[in-house]
Symmetry: C2
């Protein structure tokens, strides 16, 4: 038995068997950044440990940590093995930062007609002449008074029905989903019907508490996906799920606990109970969807990347451990492919891409970028491995869209003078995705980059960096050090935009569409919302269309999740869309590599 | 913390909070007879306690226990409160005896076509050109190769599908229930498909392991219902469920554990695994059905005695905690009324009462006796509170049908000489139901009872008992004491047969049928199997029909449970029967009390 105290948050825990600092933190619910999923690869999980009895420094730690750090007691959380009492200090750099979370989005009008509805029933009490079963009494009244057929009953609800009927003096409110009785409440509770729509992203979780009588959002709220502690990107998390005993279960528990917390706090702050939540709808990328539902993910980690399930699922909230009404379910629209999830489906639905006349692109930019092309009445989708550069990772001074991040950069074309703004106007501490995009676009416009992406010697603010390559100094950080965009960073952006553009080109090629025929581009998601579309066109990430034809719709996936919650019609439309969207596997497209090579150039 | 050691079985347990000896035994799974359900009423739960620190003798114990017993350390298990280390000896009289359990019954031919079927699939492996989801691959092959539509999938099965497909090299066996995928196994497992049918009685549980390919019973096995430790009859158990915190849960756990044990041992002894069990069907009286499924029973304890649910239910075996294939369900045919259970429905089905031409009675004799009359194409059912006399309880020397029970009695009509036989030929220790019935019939035939049921003075073997009333000495027990049938016993039999006969009379009256029109009587259940039908007619329990028209069919309820397991057609027939059988509430029938008063007479 030994004690671990995590600082600065002051969490104390006791363990009996040897654990790495990272494992101990994960068990304790303390977040440590582990971009690589604890493989020792990223070196980002540095912690300062006070106390003896840790495992000796590993070779990997000797590689990654500086002499000063080692002297100061720094270790890699994923490598240092605990065995006796210690205090672990998690420095700022190893903690996930509070990030700007995009939860709102453009909403189209939807008629509120949810799949779950409440009915008020006044039942006759049983007598010796009328000994119908309690449930039969409900079924008969539903049919007679509301023309609704009771076809099924939530089995978990059965024990409660009799007592509630008697408590309510045979006046009860029942909640029905498609012929299934999912809740019985004493008295008239028809005024109280809500649901929760969830957009489960790899980075953030957005939840919408929705009034099912009106379809209005009562409150939207976002939080970081706590699975980040197990790996920044999808592949690291799948690795955790597949390689570690209990890894999948822990990832599932982490996200279930987080969604549960969101639902409880949303309800509490709006005078509702979780038992008022009659349904939860949830969209997400296929890996998040699979991890949440406890589906296997091994087959998502390697070619040909097939989903375990690609049909709509309705799972009882209690079976997942989510708080809701007794028989309430979590409805998950179907994924489209292994790397085109139900979040993309929801985005297509909410942005009305499928109803647009002409030729339209719908793009969700992220580590994986999903793109759908609507053309000639058909929709085709691809997934591009665009990498984490646009999310602020894998870039020297990159960071998430948190306070102090440089989010806008202007470079004067002639003078090459750099100007920037930061999130919340705080002193600059790094650069987020939209800032890097602006910067590269600005460098191109000012002739500081050539067509192959080489930083030009002699340009204003350009210097030789520690790696011997050129870099542009953007700003000074608080410690007086330079915040720079390096040659490597530019290459990362090149790869990312090349991946996205080649996906677009393949879609257009397959559909026989040329760039001038594009009527519009829909950009969804956090990055798609905050970027300057002009910069995206300038660096060639998007085809050269007029910027007024580029529509930034915000969190369309979340809005789509809300639409399938409040409208049974939209739910059926989503399911039908999922079967009609054609998935195109880029790697087997004949001219894909040529498109990619071409798309890399500025 | 204190320790309790139960003898003679040697079970040791430790508890922290005060418990009665009965509660401690129940928690430890040690059986103590508590006929009244622990209310202190029956005085049957005598135990001998060594050690101090028990609660002082209660008034009830002072009433019930003799001076000798008190001196020897006897207490009532339901009244003595534990607080320190003790040894509890449970004497023979306080332990449930091994009882003769009727599991077999007359079987009519049924075509084997179960609701659950297995299919062998050879699937194409995924490629970059064929990235269908794992589940879609199964659905497509089922449709193409077998014309079966995959409409649903057991959600608990989802995590296993992908790994099993790959383990089996894309050759898999799937089990389907009505469009729902409930199991996936690697390779060809079509040869291995079984199910279990359960007849859940208040006293005994009978289970049938059935081959779903042929419909043949592999093995039938019975055991005592362990809920007996919580109360002998249904009402005591409902009292336990309603009054005690956790009472319902403990009753449920006890019976689930017992059924689980039966299934595991049946499988193990026949070279099968519980995961080969593709479906479980279960019938029982409404209270047993409700207690097993965790349904409320309070409304069954008082007029108008309505069931919570009277529709067929299919509940995942895992949700009940029963061992079976991953997505296997427990199918429960519907109860007919609060005191006419699905066991009676199964009996009607298996005995083909519903298909008989003419006028037939079907009778299940027990503490509650259910009777159905088929007449003029309709079936009407009643429930009679016949009491426990026929099950050997509430009778002075009564006992269950265990070894040493007097089961047959002959009294010579002239000489009044008594002869008897016991179960397994062992020395007599008491009388079971069939023995008492024979005895009363014999006494009537020999003029030892008058028409009102009074034992006649001066009859051979008749003496005045300890209560000052007359009694007939049947035999001597091992200790040399007399085993008798008392005046009170005769009255109990009178009440029991009166209840049954008046139920029959009401049914005939309501249908406008006279006794001579009865074409036959079906007697089901353990008591109905072992009684001499002539005795039943002689005492007037049954109308005066020729004995060759009385058919004893054995455990027809169990056979019915088996039929709905192996035949989807019989399952649908049972569900249709349940809605067509008309329940008649005796207590509101206009002339019921007149019929009852008349039926009391011999």
């Amino acid at each position: 038995m030994y004690n671990v105290q995590f600082e600065p948050i002051g969490r104390k825990v006791t363990y009996s068997r040897p654990l790495t600092v990272l494992e101990a933190a994960q068990k304790a619910g303390v977040e440590i950044l582990a971009l690589c999923g604890g493989l020792g690869a990223c070196g980002r999980c540095r912690v300062k440990v006070q106390g003896d009895g840790l495992s000796p420094l590993s070779d990997r730690e000797k590689d990654v940590l500086s002499e000063d750090e080692i002297t100061a007691g720094y270790r890699l959380a994923c490598r240092a093995l605990l065995g006796s009492d210690v205090i672990v200090y998690i420095p700022e750099m190893s903690r996930p930062r509070e990030q700007r979370l995009q939860v709102t989005g453009r909403e189209e009008p939807v008629t509120c007609c949810p799949s779950v509805r409440k009915f008020l029933l006044d039942l006759p009490a049983p007598t010796l002449e009328d000994t119908r079963a309690d449930l039969a009494r409900i079924g008969d009244a539903l049919a007679a008074d509301h023309g609704v057929s009771l076809a099924d009953v939530d089995l978990g609800l059965l024990p409660a029905i009799g007592p509630v009927l008697r408590e309510g003096g045979w006046r009860v409110t029942v909640s029905m989903y498609d012929g299934e009785l999912i809740q019985v409440e004493p008295g008239d509770r028809t005024g109280c019907a809500c649901g929760v729509a969830v957009d489960l992203g790899s980075t953030k979780i957005a939840a919408y508490l929705v009034d099912l009588k009106t379809g209005a959002t009562i409150e939207a709220r976002g939080m970081m996906n706590p699975q980040i502690a197990y790996g920044e990107d999808i592949m690291s998390r799948i690795t955790t799920a597949v390689r570690h005993t209990d890894g999948a279960r822990r990832l599932q528990e982490a996200v279930v606990e987080a969604i549960g917390r969101l639902i409880r706090s949303l309800c509490q702050d709006n005078g509702l109970c979780p038992s008022d939540v009659l349904e939860i709808t949830l969209v997400g990328n296929t890996a998040m969807h699979h991890l949440l539902l406890g589906l296997p993910t091994r087959q998502l980690a390697g070619s040909p990347f097939v989903p375990a399930v690609a049909r709509p699922l309705r799972i009882k909230a209690r079976d997942l451990g989510l708080p809701a009404a007794p028989g309430a379910a979590v409805y998950c629209p179907p994924p489209i492919a292994g790397f085109v999830g139900s979040d993309h489906l929801a985005m297509v639905l909410a942005s009305r891409l499928h109803r647009k006349a002409g030729t339209w692109l719908g793009i969700d930019i992220g580590t994986n970028t999903e793109i759908s092309l609507k053309s000639g009445g058909r929709i085709t989708a691809v997934s591009c491995a665009s990498g984490p550069a646009f999310e602020g990772a894998a870039v020297c001074w990159g960071m998430k869209a948190a306070p102090g991040a440089i989010e806008r950069v202007w470079i004067a074309p002639r003078s090459q003078e750099v100007q920037f703004s930061t999130i919340e106007g705080q002193p600059p501490v790094g650069i987020c995705g939209s800032g890097i995009l602006d910067c590269v676009a600005g460098m191109l416009g000012a002739g500081m980059l050539n067509g192959r992406g080489r930083i030009q010697t002699g340009a204003r603010g350009v210097r030789t960096g520690a790696d011997g390559l050129l870099e542009l100094v953007l700003a000074e950080d608080a410690a007086g050090g330079a915040i720079t965009v390096t040659q490597r960073d530019v290459e990362r952006i090149q790869l990312a935009k090349g991946a996205i553009r080649s996906g677009i080109e393949v879609l257009m090629d397959a559909a026989g569409v040329d760039a001038p025929e594009i009527d519009g581009i829909i950009l969804a998601g956090a990055f798609g919302t905050f970027i300057d579309p002009l910069s995206a066109v300038r660096i060639g990430m998007l085809p050269a269309v007029d910027v007024e034809r580029i529509v930034q719709v915000g969190n369309a996936a979340g809005i789509g999740a809300k639409e399938v919650l409040v409208s049974d019609e939209q739910r059926r439309a989503a399911e039908s869309l999922a079967t009609s969207i054609q998935y195109l596997e880029l790697t087997v497209y004949p001219r894909y590599s040529r498109f990619f090579a071409h798309a890399l150039r500025f």
